[in-house]
């Protein structure tokens, strides 16, 4: 009698453990972003997007039958901190993949960790050096700054102009994009006739703009930067009465730029993903469904206007989940291979076709040229 009770109890215990096993199993995804600090308008929407999507996926049953767990850290855009969190994610939290690195500096600092630990890493930063040269475990979703330059120069040439005055921020993004623009200008048929810079905290750039205004033959102004700089540049351009076409970078693709720049923003053009003009896209546009869906979900979940940076996180997450489903497992190596084989994925940034030599997968058509008209975004035909 006692023996049988013992036996049945043991069996029940074994069953309980066995059942508890798979149900508790979770796929851990890591993330370290600049949620606070100078780059927080990058990291904050990115973090909010990831959280929203993880909740969404888990509510629908998870991936391959397992729930996702997001381990989110805030590196404040500081590369040393990012590096420490990268190690923490890999060694302590034992994640299977990482989406993160809001800034290029943070991304580059973390790459050695992921390469050594063989964990797939999808970066949300802009510079082209992240995926060129290609690194086995590193991918990225945002357009490169090189592409932005290309798109802007293309539009400038379309308007019959060729002499450009460049003004860029001395932060990582601005400096990197400035270099890319200088590199591709020649082959795009554009001549850079002025090259000024400003600091990220500068409140007035009229000296620099005055020099650009006086540069011989200048026909257009290109501002490479993000944060408060572009808004101040735009306002100062109006203050000085400079009537030249002004181009901004994809770094200012958010509604708050229009608010901050006020009337001065009228007529400013910039390359951006279709996300900003989601509702204005024709129904036949292949991106419309994705961007409208994400915009609605994000604005509902956070009460804030959608941002292209959040869109990068959206693309990264969806690609990761798709890769896990395709690979049928959450093993880092298998997931990495599946990410690399992503083909025809429609994201907020455009169509993604990755390969062993291309870990970004976007082409120039993914970028749209937008113009600010009457305080809102409009597509330039």
């Amino acid at each position: 009698m006692k023996k049988s009770i013992l036996l049945s109890l043991t069996a029940a215990a074994a069953l309980a453990v066995g059942l508890a096993g798979p149900a508790d199993a979770e796929i851990k995804i890591g993330s370290t972003l600049a949620v606070t600090g100078g780059a927080s308008f990058l990291g904050d929407p990115e973090a909010k997007t990831l959280k929203m999507l993880v909740d969404q996926v888990n509510a629908a049953g998870g991936v391959n039958g397992e729930k996702l767990e997001l381990v989110q850290y805030d590196d404040g855009g500081n590369p040393n901190k990012a590096r420490t969190f990268a190690t923490r994610l890999v060694e302590d939290d034992e994640v299977v993949a990482v989406i993160g690195g809001s800034t290029t500096g943070a991304t580059m600092a973390m790459i050695p960790v992921f390469e050594e630990a063989k964990i797939p890493f999808i970066s949300l930063a802009g510079a082209v050096v992240i995926i060129d040269p290609v690194k086995k475990w590193v991918f990225k979703t945002p357009h490169t700054d090189r592409m932005a330059c290309g798109k802007i120069f293309e539009d400038i040439r379309k308007r019959g102009l060729s002499k450009v005055g460049l003004i860029s921020g001395t932060g990582g993004f601005g400096k990197s994009m400035r270099q890319q623009c200088l590199d591709v200008a020649g082959s795009a048929g554009v001549e850079i006739v002025a090259d000024e810079t400003y600091g990220p905290d500068d409140a007035d750039v009229t000296p620099q703009l005055t020099k650009i205004k006086n540069a011989p033959g200048v026909q257009a102004i290109l501002n490479a930067g993000f944060g408060q700089g572009p808004a101040i540049v735009t306002r100062n351009v109006r203050q000085l009465g400079i009537a030249l076409p002004l181009y901004q970078s994809h770094g200012v693709a958010s509604k708050s730029f229009i608010e901050l720049a006020g009337e001065a923003a009228e007529g400013v053009r910039l390359p951006a993903s279709a996300l900003l003009v989601a509702d204005k896209l024709p129904d036949s546009d292949p991106q419309k469904e994705v961007v409208v869906g994400y915009k609605a979900a994000y604005e509902k979940a956070t009460g804030q206007p959608v941002s292209t940076f959040g869109g990068h996180a959206y693309d990264a997450f969806q690609m990761l989940v798709a890769a896990m489903k395709k690979a049928g497992s959450a093993k880092p190596a298998a997931v990495r291979d599946a990410i690399e084989q992503t083909k025809g994925f429609m994201g907020t940034a455009g169509v993604v076709n990755m390969s062993a030599t291309d870990h970004l997968g976007l082409d120039l058509t993914a970028f749209r040229m937008l113009e600010i008209r009457k305080g809102d975004w409009a597509l330039v035909e």
């Binding site: 606070t36 100078g38 600091g199 007035d204 009229t206 620099q208 101040i232 009465g241």
Partner: protein, 290 residues
């Protein structure tokens, strides 16, 4: 010529903000010998509170008044809860306390407000005023006017009013001041409140031009501190001159030399001045007792 004028306008605009921040540093230093690294946060609070009060429906003047009062209260609390209790601590310890306060206020602003950039409308519109081929914004004139008024007010306060003299007496020798019947606690509270109010005013005047966000204070505190040192710590006239000078140096460097190093130019000049005049341009020479 119009170029030089434009650079000058730019330098004065930015310099006016620095001057107001430097004036704020000066008051607290005069009263307590403390350099308050949270001064930048007072500027930030002035701007941010105005933004959010205005967005909540208050007319701009009311929002601004609220911001000044609220920030002054924060300054008084900072004194009461942090600085007063650290009486007699070393220079380094006090610096760390105010830096801790600055981090705390920034963190609180992050939570209480948000992480976005903000501005509110300029007081007199954005149409630039053309002078001699250069343009200046009406808001810049407001800033310069504000700096001048604050400076004049402080000058009169410290030299003509009894309370102002009491502040200076407290800074000179706290014990002696108490012995002649000065309520030194009140003097300290007043100094911090006044300094915070001036900081808030700086934020309010500057935001239409410089924009504001929860971390706008850090860079301003640095430049304001540098300007105050350049002019001679503790001297309101030095703070005014120091602030405007730093702004002008930056603008001229950006205009005539290299915009990359304009911030560096200001620091190089400050270092050069301090090497030649260790008390700054107008500072009093300190006496060391054994």
């Amino acid at each position: 010529m119009s170029e030089l004028l434009q650079f000058t306008f730019s330098g004065l605009t930015v310099g006016a903000v620095y001057a107001l921040v430097a004036l704020g540093f000066t008051i607290i230093y005069n009263a307590s010998g403390v350099v308050n690294f949270a001064q930048g946060e007072f500027v930030m609070l002035g701007g941010m509170i105005t933004v959010f009060a205005h967005a909540a429906g208050a007319p701009l003047p009311a929002a601004a008044a609220l911001a000044v009062v609220a920030t002054a209260a924060v300054g008084i609390l900072l004194n009461k809860l942090a600085i007063e209790r650290a009486r007699g601590a070393s220079v380094v310890t006090l610096i760390i306390i105010t830096i801790g306060a600055s981090i705390f206020l920034r963190g609180a602003a992050q939570l209480g407000f948000d992480k976005q950039l903000h501005r509110f409308p300029s007081f007199s519109g954005d149409d630039p005023i053309a002078i001699g081929g250069a343009t200046i914004l009406p808001q810049s004139l407001w800033m310069l006017f504000g700096a001048a008024v604050v400076f004049a007010g402080l000058y009169l306060f410290f030299t003509r009013s009894l309370t102002g003299k009491a502040v200076l007496a407290t800074a000179n020798n706290k014990l002696a001041a108490q012995l002649v019947g000065i309520d030194t606690d009140f003097v300290m509270a007043l100094s911090f409140g006044l300094s915070a109010a001036i900081g808030a005013l700086a934020g309010i005047l500057a935001t239409p031009i410089t924009l504001t966000s929860y971390d706008a204070g850090t860079a301003l505190a640095l430049k304001g501190f540098a300007a105050a040192m350049l002019g001679g710590m503790g001297n309101p006239f030095g703070a005014l001159v120091g602030g405007l000078l730093v702004g002008l140096i930056e603008a001229m460097t950006a205009g005539y030399l290299s915009s990359d190093y304009k911030d560096a130019a200001a620091f190089v000049v400050i270092l050069a001045v301090l090497f030649a005049m260790p008390q700054g341009l107008f500072g009093k020479s300190a006496q060391e007792r054994v």
